[in-house]
């Protein structure tokens, strides 16, 4: 800060020395930048995937496509290796793997994103309510939360889906509830920390209502850590939904989804096909890139954030 003010009363050469630290900007390291590039590519694919995909996700390719001069008259269409016709090969019933990955991006990322947002809506609302509300409300919400956290999440999802059937809305609803429990804990602890700060007290002395305090004083101050946590939570939701699909309880065929693609193509491993690896790689690149960005940001905001999120 070179523009220290000239105080009216003090005109000598000795001004108050500034002791405010210079403003820090977040600069991403190469890891963060790489993560951003990969993430942007996936976002583009979500947007235009079906348009650029060579086939429809449910198309079972014709045998004629694979006839080579002098070769078999009726070639197998299953587990075809990558070629000019099918860039990433075919899956276990002869559908184009590239098309399915492109279509699947929309399903997997879309469902996960909606589920994470849903988890955040519940978690943050209740978490802030517990932070600012009465001791009794805090106690009631926290114990309820502990109860949800104590049930193994995959088990709970399995039972619910077995009882109610596997539909995408139910999948989103369930995932949201399960992950809201951990969001609740973070939102509550962040909210409590801000709630006891002097500037909130200053607002209370001014006579501000609870709504104003929540929206103007608390939320802006916890937005950054929550946003970072959102990234991590999103990754876990992708893995969770993929795991459910892998067990056959998530997205149902013929819709493509990365988790179920890994499962259906698993027999291909015996034939040396890369079919199960392609969707696995898609999941890995997406989740790792988000992770790298989150890591990079929290490294800049101090280890504090990262520590709190390990829960």
């Amino acid at each position: 800060m070179s523009d220290t003010p000239q105080n009216n009363g003090v005109t000598s050469q000795f001004d108050e020395l500034p002791d405010a630290p210079p403003k820090r900007k977040i600069k991403l390291s190469w890891a963060g930048k790489t993560g951003c590039v990969v993430l942007v590519i996936w976002i583009i694919i979500v947007a235009i995937g079906p348009m650029i995909s060579p086939y429809h996700e449910a198309d079972i390719l014709d045998e004629e496509l694979f006839i080579v001069p002098g070769g078999d008259e009726y070639p197998d269409t299953e587990f075809q290796p990558p070629s000019k016709i099918v860039l990433l090969g075919t899956d276990y019933i002869g559908r184009d793997l590239l098309s399915r990955v492109l279509y699947g991006a929309r399903t997997t990322i879309g469902i996960s994103l909606i589920a994470t947002i849903w988890a955040y809506l519940i978690g943050v609302t209740l978490g802030i309510a517990a932070a600012v509300g009465s001791k009794f409300l805090d106690m009631a919400l926290s114990r309820l939360n502990d109860a949800i956290l104590s049930i193994p999440s995959l088990m709970m999802a399995l039972v619910m889906i077995a009882a109610l059937g596997s539909t995408i809305p139910l999948l989103i609803f369930l995932t949201g509830i399960i992950y809201a429990a951990s969001v609740f804990r973070i939102a509550r602890s962040l909210g409590q920390e801000v709630m006891v700060s002097d500037f909130v007290e200053a607002a209370r002395v001014r006579g501000e209502g609870l709504w104003w305090i929540i929206t103007r004083e608390i939320l802006p101050n916890i937005a950054m850590p929550l946003a970072t946590d959102f990234g991590l939570r999103f990754v876990w939701v992708i893995l969770f939904i993929s795991a459910l699909s892998f067990l056959g309880l998530g997205v149902q065929p013929p819709m493509s989804d990365w988790g179920s693609m890994v499962k259906e193509n698993l027999p291909g491993l015996i034939y040396g096909s890369i079919a199960p690896l392609v969707p696995s790689l898609a999941i890995a690149t997406l989740t790792i890139s988000v992770n790298m960005i989150v890591d990079d940001i929290s490294a800049h905001t101090g280890g504090k954030l990262a520590k709190r999120m390990i829960s």
Binding site: P5, K27, D198, A202, R206, G207, P220
Partner: protein, 604 residues
């Protein structure tokens, strides 16, 4: 005396985002001889801590050495290999940080922590270290030295913890001690005792020390040599007597000017009577308040008991006392943050609801609270114009252009440039933030401002500027002030009336000149005599007095019966003071003293 540490043309710079260098320390040189204390004196931002840390061959992240040498017995510690530096730190050079409470680990015993470093460095084994620690506890006049090591940090007082930190640093018999503002956060009564212990232990151990502080009157008590710094450059360098008695440089004189003279009658500004009206602006009657669950109408921990204070319109009431006396609690009761369990708060003679939720907006507007730490009292996510604009909108309904105009007026009022409106709090310095904090309270056009230790966290010069500002605002606006501080000198120069709190009771109150001149309540006398004077040799004299010997190193304790000051009081009457509540003696002009002793007995 042989030279232990030579700092030779030291230059340290900060690296900016665009890789350019910003000089922080611009060629500073001084020597530290064995058995000598050298003080580095200056405001925050002057580079004093940065220089002190270079004695350990260390810079804070983002800073780097760009020139000069720091030689410990002829060996440059800056260019030293990392493993040799590691051996140096904590062994030959020990560092004492500002806050002892933050340095100690609450989960380990004191003994473990005091001896840890020298056992780790292999200087001695655990048994020898324990013996050594015990000797140090004795030298530092800590209570119960035999068993102190087995206790935990929360079981001792703040001043004792500060001395324990010295023990921690001295345990490995270092050649050089680096003390970074070790008494800044302490009460006057505690400060004097810590200073005395430091001074004698440094003499006994014969070790050298670098003492970093912004307070010249503390420096005068402890240093042999003084280096006065401003913006990373040496302004003046000489023996303590030279610098204190014949300051040669403008900046030194300005620093000395910022040290407030010891409290005495006749320093206060006369407040004009033009704003006077019949009813006091704010009054509290028979207030009892505390924290914890209520039982039969009384809180579990009572902090204030039967407190009566009245603030006349346009007057300033200073509230003083050591930490734990209930000063802040009194302000919180007035603001309604902590509803009193008994008694009333009156605004303009009208009864106020105890809890702020039930108070009307116009009542809230009239009492504004200025928080101690501007760092935490301003929302870091709001721009200054937003922070100042909200009360204007909330209380006065100002909008658009009118609001904008008023924000600019407020910034002018607190002497900040108008373009600060677009900044965030983190882009301001400590003093500037405190000004914004004040401006926010003023925005409400209040009648009473509750200032809770508003300058305690600021440097002397910055604090003096803020006090000047407050005086000017008082003249301009006619606002009444409740000014809470543990710094008696500040209160003496600013207040019209003084309320002395001890353990939740008002022990003395009245006009400034009367409270600060005899007859005193014994506690007031202790407070006054503990304020360091800006001259060499004051500490030794002060320690001889009866008050100092009786009063130091005790924790403020609330008592159910009798006078709470009983166990520290040099005039205590056994059997009376500890059993019966003291009568309130009226000495005229609203000067009240709560004591068993009569007026004649106060004067010795």
């Amino acid at each position: 005396m042989s030279v232990l540490l030579e700092v030779d043309d030291l230059k340290i710079s900060a690296r900016r985002d665009d890789e350019s260098l910003l000089p922080i320390v611009k060629g500073v040189s001084f020597n530290v001889a064995r058995g000598e204390v050298v003080a580095l004196c200056g405001e925050s931002g002057s580079g004093k801590t940065t220089i002190a840390l270079s004695a350990l061959g260390y810079t804070k992240p983002g800073l780097e050495f760009v020139g000069g040498e720091v030689r410990l017995e002829g060996e440059d510690v800056i260019t030293m290999a990392a493993d040799k530096q590691r051996a140096l730190r904590g062994q030959r050079v020990a560092y004492l940080a500002q806050s002892a409470a933050a340095t100690f680990n609450p989960a380990l015993t004191i003994g473990e922590q005091v001896t840890e470093s020298c056992v780790l460095h292999g200087i001695m084994n655990q048994e020898q270290a324990n013996k050594r620690a015990e000797t140090l506890y004795r030298a530092l006049e800590l209570p119960d030295p035999d068993r102190l090591g087995k206790r935990y940090p929360h079981q001792v007082s703040g001043g004792q913890l500060q001395r324990l930190m010295a023990a921690m640093a001295l345990c490995g018999k270092p050649d050089l001690l680096v003390l970074d503002e070790p008494t800044t956060a302490l009460d006057v009564t505690t400060q004097i005792e810590v200073l005395k212990a430091f001074k004698s232990v440094i003499k006994q151990e014969g070790s050298a020390a670098i003492y970093v502080t912004h307070d010249l009157s503390v420096v005068a008590q402890i240093a042999d040599h003084i280096v006065v710094l401003y913006a990373g450059e040496t302004q003046e360098h000489g023996t303590a007597e030279q610098v204190i008695d014949q300051p040669g440089h403008d900046y030194t004189r300005r620093l000395m000017h910022a040290v407030r003279p010891p409290p005495a009658a006749g320093q206060g500004d006369e407040t004009s009577e033009e704003h006077q009206r019949e009813a006091p602006a704010l009054q509290v009657q028979d207030i009892t308040a505390g924290y914890g669950r209520k039982q039969n109408g009384a809180p579990a921990i009572i902090v204030l008991r039967d407190v009566n204070v009245s603030i006349e319109r346009g007057h300033t009431v200073g509230v003083i006392g050591e930490s734990g006396c209930g000063k802040s609690t009194l302000a919180r009761v007035m603001a309604g943050l902590l509803p009193a369990s008994q008694g009333q708060v009156l605004l303009d003679g009208d009864n106020l609801e105890p809890a702020l939720q039930k108070r009307a907006r116009s009542e809230l507007q009239k009492i504004q609270f200025v928080f101690q730490m501007a760092d935490t009292a301003l929302n870091p996510r709001q721009r200054i114009d937003h922070i100042l604009g909200r009360p204007l909108e909330f209380y006065l309904g100002l909008k658009g252009k009118e609001k904008r105009r008023r924000i600019m007026e407020l910034l002018d009022m607190v002497e900040l440039p108008q373009d600060f409106a677009g900044r965030y709090p983190e882009e301001l310095s400590g003093g500037q933030k405190q000004r914004v904090n004040l401006a926010r309270a003023l925005a409400a056009s209040p009648e009473v401002l509750l200032c809770d230790e508003v300058i305690s966290a600021l440097d002397s010069i910055v604090g003096a500027n803020v006090i000047e500002l407050l005086k000017r605002l008082r003249k301009q606006t006619g606002v009444s002030f409740v000014f809470i501080s543990h710094d008696l000198s500040t209160v003496a120069s600013f207040a019209d009336e003084i309320v002395v709190l001890y353990a939740g009771r008002v022990v003395e109150q009245g006009p400034v000149d009367q409270v600060l001149s005899p007859p005193y309540h014994p506690y007031t006398r202790l407070l006054i005599s503990s304020v360091p004077e800006l001259r060499v040799g004051w500490l030794e004299e002060a320690m001889q007095t009866q008050e100092a010997q009786a009063g130091i190193d005790r924790v403020v304790q609330l008592t159910e019966t009798g006078c709470p000051f009983f166990d520290r009081c040099p005039l205590a009457i056994e059997g009376t003071c500890d059993r019966e509540t003291a009568p309130i003696r009226d000495l005229g002009d609203g000067h009240l003293i709560e004591c068993h002793r009569s007026e004649e007995e106060f004067v010795h």
